[in-house]
């Protein structure tokens, strides 16, 4: 190694102490302020779910207690009072027909909905990514078998799957586990299709070939080279799975394999609230709003992760700010 060569690098080497990949990732993630805000919002939601008993104790309401006196029976059971019966006792009003406390039901509902939908999403993404990768990389036969298996799962309606499960699964299996499993089983196909199609494009790239030459097995190549590139579509799609899973959870309740009443869940609340959006709008808007905030915060976090995972996008992001500054200075200069 010639001295000259080493020296020639010195100019370029005047950089801050290098950071490892993970640390760089965090740095890039934290650089996005919206992500921090969204993460805090999401954490708050999780906190609300975990602290549901505490919060309802604070309010002094039981999520399952009926208050027939608070609804107008002759008018179909609309909550008495304005804004769905909001009062000091019932912070967010009461449910039509039953008069159950909405705040209590919402925070308890967060437990089921966030827990089930979130875990199910993770499982779905895991299954989807694994099978999608296997289909794309495992050769023609693996692709055929997996793709056709996916077709079977896609074509089987939830109704039939629900019926099947009622028949096989013993009552001893805890409901949340069962629901999570069912949702995971019915909902991975989208992820798997996306992963398969993207991986098919990616696998012809030189850097994947290079990794294969490095001596990695297919699995390792998939994990190391393809996964990071697949993160963008998978995260984007995965975030959308959360509200989709909340609806599946509600649909499962119809089939009798869902959360058992009277336990509340956002999905069920949304479904029940459907017809009430005119006469008792808060009943619909509250769970819908919570779900929306959840999805929005997840979206922003997901978007941030996506950006942080892609060093090129990350540097572009930084630039967006600068270019605006550039534009400003340009404008000033032209005056």
């Amino acid at each position: 190694m010639s001295e000259a060569l080493l020296a020639s690098q010195a100019g370029a080497a005047q950089v801050a102490a290098p950071a490892s990949g993970a640390r760089q990732f965090w740095r890039r993630l934290r650089a996005q302020r919206a992500v921090t805000v969204a993460a805090v919002v999401f954490a708050l939601l999780v906190f609300v779910a975990l602290a549901a008993p505490l919060l309802t104790a604070l309010e002094g309401q039981d999520p399952n207690a009926f208050h027939p006196a608070l609804v107008d029976s002759a008018a179909g059971g609309v909550p008495k009072g304005s804004f769905g019966g909001i009062s000091g006792d019932h912070w967010l009003g009461v449910e039509p027909q039953t008069g159950r406390d909405l705040f209590a039901r919402l925070v308890y509902g967060a437990r089921v909905s966030l827990g089930v939908a979130f875990i199910a999403t993770l499982v779905q993404v895991f299954i989807g990514v694994s099978l999608g990768l296997l289909a794309a990389l495992g050769g023609r036969w693996a692709d055929q078998v997996i793709s056709r298996f996916t077709d079977v799962v896609v074509a089987l309606p939830l109704l039939v799957i629900g019926l099947g499960l009622i028949a096989i699964v013993p009552d001893s299996v805890p409901r949340p586990v069962l629901i999570t499993a069912v949702i995971a089983v019915v909902g991975w196909s989208g992820t798997s299709k996306i992963v398969r199609s993207s991986a098919l494009s990616l696998k012809s790239l030189d850097y994947v070939s290079a990794a294969r030459l490095s001596g990695w097995g297919r699995l390792a190549v998939a994990r190391r080279e393809l996964l990071p590139a697949l993160a963008a579509p998978v995260i984007t799609y995965g975030v959308l799975l959360v509200p989709a899973n909340v609806s599946i959870e509600a649909a499962l309740s119809f089939l009798g394999v869902g959360i058992k009443p009277p336990t509340p869940s956002w999905g069920q609340m949304l479904t029940d609230a459907n017809t009430w959006y005119q006469s008792a709008p808060t009943y619909l808007l509250l769970p819908a709003g919570f779900l929306f905030v959840t999805v929005l915060s997840l979206t922003v976090v997901g978007e941030g992760v996506r950006t942080a995972l892609d060093p090129r996008a990350a540097s572009r992001l930084k630039v967006g700010v600068k270019s605006r500054k550039d534009a400003k200075s340009r404008k000033e200069a032209s005056k």
Binding site: A210, R212, R312, K322
Partner: protein, 545 residues
């Protein structure tokens, strides 16, 4: 417009470019008169590409900070509005990028991409634009341009892609052509053809040329003035004759002395050991039916331990295809390859595409180490650092991402990665094409060293005949998918039998600008001869069918 012609086409004053804390270009000033040609040579990573980008304002919204002033054809690039910039880009000044594969949209036919760009500036019907695309493709020497215009970039060889980019630039008939290493993937005959073409255009249309190159010979053949760069600064600038003939700066002298000579052969092949790889009658056919194309057509070769097989040949003759088949990345259509468990590696022709943009280069280099089961982080870092250092990169840039590197630097990362695996055989596909001669000499020396130490077998695909001579024991000349001539280096270089080999040798650029002009004329003649020959061959084929 009239104003523009009176003033300099390009006027760069005190240009500085920083990427974060990296100062890539610092205090660079130069100007270029209309119709003139300026060559920028210099060390890999010295800021050549970065400066070229600045001429088109391409650093805008990328995170780079640019200072100083840049005026191109009367436009202040730094302050121009987006619309003004768009008018400038392509229409007035066109750029040929350094990384040809990644610079084309993989989803669209090449002809369409050229046509699209053409229409933005020249308007006209889609059809006319397509016709124009075919025309320029033909001018840059793409055979059967009408058909090839419909191909996607991945169906092109490295050199063909590079020519496609040149064609794109020429399509709009710009006043200024900024060509960043435009001939790195071209064999010498095609390279000469391209350089002649550029020369011709300058004469016909008065196009200005800013040629970034590491190849002093190329500069000598095509420019009036040279600018020598190092570490982001100009070290010397002047008429090509003076700078190359009587260099003042120490760095320029060093550079010139490192230029490999056609007659400088490798120290006699140590000992040709047992065969590492034997290929028999390899064929590769792309596509099916009518659109099928035979890229490699009955190639047999053997690579032995401790030996270097140089492969030279026309752009698009199937060198990359052959190399990929040898390492097993591409299935053969027919023929057999015996590797007997030889650990093989490849240095890819396109360094950008061969590096995962999401992983730091250190991690990419560490890949083979991790794959072989090394878990100790410290050891990995140490070993990768050592490798980076050996290819002339700063080990501290372990955690940097590929897009933060210059073309030549990425190429060296690719070499480091291939070496990390400690393979027995490496197929190097144009491994030094983007390196300045000093770095190039250093890297070839490194390979030779390893070969001596480990008995490494090398397949060295390159278009630079001098380099090939320097590193190879034997050399194979490829044309149209076949090996037209094979033998010991001295034999092939000394007494070439095949006319194509002779033509190749004749086309090697010389560092002497005067000689270059003479040879340009001679080449023209030879080319015409060859074209007649090819026509005859084509007719024979038709007759046989």
């Amino acid at each position: 417009m009239t104003e523009a012609t009176t003033e300099a086409l390009v006027e760069v004053v005190d240009l500085g470019i920083s990427f974060g804390e990296t100062r890539a270009v610092d205090g660079l000033s130069f100007s270029l008169a209309p119709g003139a040609a300026l060559g920028v040579v210099g060390e890999s990573g010295s800021g050549k590409s970065a400066s070229a980008y600045a001429l088109l304002g391409l650093h805008r919204s990328t995170g780079a900070v640019v200072d100083g002033t840049v005026r191109v054809a009367g436009t202040d690039v730094q302050r121009a509005s987006d619309a003004e910039l768009r008018r400038l880009r392509g229409g007035v000044a066109a750029m040929v990028f350094q990384d040809p594969l990644s610079s084309l949209d993989p989803y669209y036919a090449i002809g369409d991409q050229i046509a699209e760009v053409y229409r933005v500036h020249r308007g006209g019907s889609k059809r006319a634009a397509r016709a124009r695309a075919v025309e320029v493709l033909d001018r840059v020497g793409i055979p059967d341009a009408a058909r090839k215009a419909r191909s996607r970039p991945h169906e092109f060889s490295g050199g063909m892609r590079q020519r496609a980019l040149i064609a794109m630039a020429l399509a709009c008939e710009p006043k200024l052509l900024i060509a960043d290493e435009p001939t790195t993937a071209l064999d010498v005959t095609v390279q000469a053809q391209i350089l002649d073409l550029l020369h011709g255009l300058r004469q016909e249309t008065g196009m200005g040329l800013l040629l970034v190159t590491h190849d002093v010979g190329v500069a000598a053949e095509s420019v009036d003035d040279v600018l020598v760069m190092r570490q982001g600064r100009a070290v010397e600038r002047g008429p090509v004759r003076d700078v190359l003939g009587a260099p003042k700066a120490a760095y320029t002298k060093e550079l010139l002395s490192a230029v490999p000579r056609l007659d400088a052969a490798k120290p006699a092949a140590s000992d040709a050991g047992e065969p590492l790889l034997e290929a028999r009658d390899l064929r590769k056919v792309f596509g099916r039916g009518k659109s099928s194309f035979t890229a490699v057509d009955g190639v047999s070769l053997t690579v032995r331990r401790g030996e270097t097989l140089g492969v030279v040949g026309e752009s698009g003759s199937g060198k990359t295809t052959l190399g990929r088949m040898l390492v097993g990345l591409l299935d053969t259509t027919s023929g057999t390859i015996r590797r007997d468990g030889t650990a093989v590696q490849m240095v890819f022709q396109d360094p950008v595409a061969s590096l995962n943009p999401r992983r730091s280069i250190g991690e990419s280099v560490a890949d083979p180490l991790r794959a072989s089961g090394v878990r100790d982080e410290q050891r990995i870092r140490a070993r990768v650092g050592e490798l980076l250092e050996r290819v002339g990169l700063d080990p501290d840039r372990y955690d940097r991402y590929p897009h933060e590197f210059s073309g030549g630097q990425r190429q060296r990362v690719g070499i480091a990665r291939a070496l990390a695996a400690e393979p027995q055989l490496i197929v190097c596909d144009e491994p030094v094409s983007a390196l300045d001669v000093t770095t190039q000499a250093h890297v070839t020396e490194l390979l030779a060293e390893l070969q001596r130490e480990l008995g490494l077998g090398l397949v060295f695909i390159a278009h630079d005949l001098a380099v090939v001579r320097q590193v190879s024991d034997r050399v194979a000349v490829m044309r149209r998918g076949r090996i037209v001539e094979e033998g010991a280096v001295d034999e092939v270089y000394g007494s070439p039998k095949d006319p194509y080999t002779r033509q190749l040798l004749a086309a090697v650029p010389t560092v002497d600008p005067v000689l270059a002009a003479v040879r340009r004329a001679a080449r023209k003649e030879l080319r015409e001869q060859l074209r007649e020959q090819a026509g005859a061959a084509g007719r024979d084929e038709v007759a046989a069918a």
